[in-house]
Symmetry: D3
Subunit: 185 residues, 6 copies
């Protein structure tokens, strides 16, 4: 897969979670992960989490670090496993700064403040993951925590390290799959 | 899936990593995870990690907490993702005790001592995961750490909590897969 | 899977055969089967059976017992097999009342009257099955038979028993898959 | 798929349930179903049903009608669904003779006598189904019924009709899969 | 699969690359390949090749031999392999006329003139392939070659032979898959 | 995938067509293709083509260029498609020398002499392809042609170019899969 930190502000409204959005906007073809900063304001009609739609729980954050990941296979189940690994990569990058993080499924919490939102879904040609990590937290609809108050100043380095961890994780998973003998009995 | 802590000492020599070993020994049919304590001594001919076979790196530990997990689908790739989630569950259970753990792929380290061994493989009818977590560390071939010295006294509770975390993780992944709207554009 | 008989009249017009219709309306997340009673009047534009669309064969019945089943995997082929098993469950439940039923693919006939309509299809996140079983038959476009004239008075019990049979059938299939040794030669 | 009634006595001992046994013995390449008559005597070491192995429940019948079906895909789950459809085909062929049959999973009963044994399994290149239907019942280890006492005299016609039903069933399933519009919303 | 040469002029504008277009127009149900002659004029909004969309590279040819192939499985990856085999079949049919053809991926060239356009994509129920082979080349946006100038006079025979080659190729692939022993070690 | 020409003579007896033979011998982990020169002498018990086993058609050639390709996925059907593409790559590399080659399925012929043998099969963890291309032809059991008499002197360059073509082909197939819009209607 290819990874990229986009050095331009992009506000996230849910339309970025679309097949080949990465290719159409950044020319990267194939499995890829990109990160960028921007507001998050997802209207209900763009939300794909039906539990949130039911509860009318729209998403808002004044400034988030966004990750969009696309994998060109058809398994939504696998996509959710990958989403979990991406969340774990973010948690472990934060731990490298000495920050204690609690993970509950695909949510991250620091000091009981919700740090992230995330979803994984499928299109006809690919699977898609979005993770948004709060940088600033003013005006968020629930109690949140953000990277700024946690002392993560260099967001682009942080973002790149997370993408790098995720890339290595998937390489490691592939290698683990390739170096094992099957059980013939 | 069903989970079980087996309250009897079972020495692990690699033959436990076999299709329906859980069913044949404990009568649990279908996706399952079991845990038990015992020595680990895997001779080269029973090892399924070909990288270890190449390096003649046999496995030994005087006392380990063992997890055997079997899922009845055919995807070895998915099995490796599940193995990673099980490793993450062990790490996060240790974190609930205030223990700092470093994860590198499917290995766990505490204070630079290797805490665990792990493998995922496939049979004709299922996929299989083994994780062994050192309890005692005397005589291990590399620098290790163990649950005893980390102050985890109640191994059976610890094991059960890990299995419970893993079970909930997989339920959460299934629910995430079911509550999402596809991207139709 | 979860099963539910909905004790409220719902007229079926084809829009109920939609991903997460069950979750959005009854809060049941994941693989599920629900049954309810209501008219069936499917306009051509809502029909998914292209053979019927070609022949302009719209569906009408004054009162039907409807089954909607959703499975969260991606195999349309498997969905058709499951549809057949659901049809077989209905046939066998009728047989327990001493009623002789002829099955031709996914159609059921009693005394040469068509008892049912059925379809299986796929969405981006799930597969979907609809079976409609005539209760009343006045005004149907072809010669039909219905549960009323067959003496099935307690429709909700009948519906629940069918769903229960189907649930057990799928559990039995899963167990059969898990208890078998592969052929290693 | 191709179907064949083999007009020669073949005793079934479990070794016939093997990949490409049909091709190696009858020259039929690809998905196929064959039927033949013969004793059934499966020693424990040839049994693939681990529940039977556990209970030491060997299989014996003095004369059975055997079906061996092989499909060249890799899904054991699908194989079990197909096995169920084959069982249903046998039940429905018997019903065309006016015989009432009870199906419990993959078992058929007439007058509380067990009529059949069956298993589905997977090899590395295919999935395999065996169904044995008692013709004679002397000496069987449980209460059984048999085709002879049910008045089915022409076993080869019966066998061929079952295979024909099964072949049409699978064609119908394929056509159902092909004629349906997906749900794009 | 079923194959058909349609003896009527059909102009290709991209809307023919749709699920069950073959069934809806020619009544052929299931895996199928059809060929017909007609202009090619695909407006940008109908194009599915996003690289072409990016470059605004619309498709035009005054007269082409078109192939539409539909397979009712869900693997887009497999569809691209099949597309390549269809391209190879066209190349090899041309070679049987003594014409030297260069293949680059899914493009065919004769004397540095581009002979063909092609795409493979997926719908919810099937995968779809289009290949257009120039017959006439006046007005094409790039340097092209065409069947007329290559001396292929009988287009319908040529088309039928290509479809026949493709059909035999897929049969051969199926047979190769069925006649091989797995590697059990 | 990784590719390698092995500059050492290795006689092929069928045991090289084994999971992770490439990894165990050359340390290349994951999808890979290697080529080497050596005699071909495959005894019946090592043959995996059951049609050849039936006809007792053992394989012998005094000197062949061998290709072993391993892909770590589970689809035998896909493996046969890849095998065909590898055969096409060999054909097209020969065409770049001006040599006319006839392909019949997975066999290549020059001047009615059989140039190659090939098979694709599956193990529990991967799929495997072997292609042997005659260099010398003395003593072969059927009429053959060989690279020497065709004027291909630099076998290692030829081998490397074929592997390179194959590698690019698979990259192109992946890119084609990733750049296409699905059909949402």
């Amino acid at each position: 897969m290819k990874i990229l930190f986009v050095n331009e502000k992009i506000d996230y409204d849910g339309t970025q979670l679309a097949p080949q959005w990465i290719y159409n906007n950044f020319g990267i073809l194939g499995d890829a992960g990109v990160a960028f900063m921007g507001e998050a304001r997802v209207p209900i009609e763009n939300m794909v989490d039906l539990a949130d739609v039911k509860e009318n729980a729209f998403i808002y954050s004044p400034l988030m670090l966004h990750f969009i990941v696309e994998h060109f296979d058809a398994s939504l189940e696998l996509a959710v496993y990958r989403q979990r690994m991406l969340i774990v990569c973010i948690k472990e990058e934060l731990e490298s700064f000495g920050i204690k993080v609690l993970r509950l499924g695909d949510d991250l919490y620091v000091d009981k403040g919700k740090l992230s939102v995330s979803i994984a879904t499928a299109s006809l040609v690919s699977t898609l993951i979005h993770v948004g990590v709060n940088i600033e937290t003013r005006g968020t609809p629930v109690k949140t925590s953000g990277l700024s108050e946690l002392g993560i100043a260099d967001i682009s380095s942080f973002a790149f390290n997370v993408l790098k961890r995720y890339e290595r994780e998937l390489e490691g998973i592939y290698e683990a799959r390739c170096k094992v003998r099957g059980k013939y009995a």
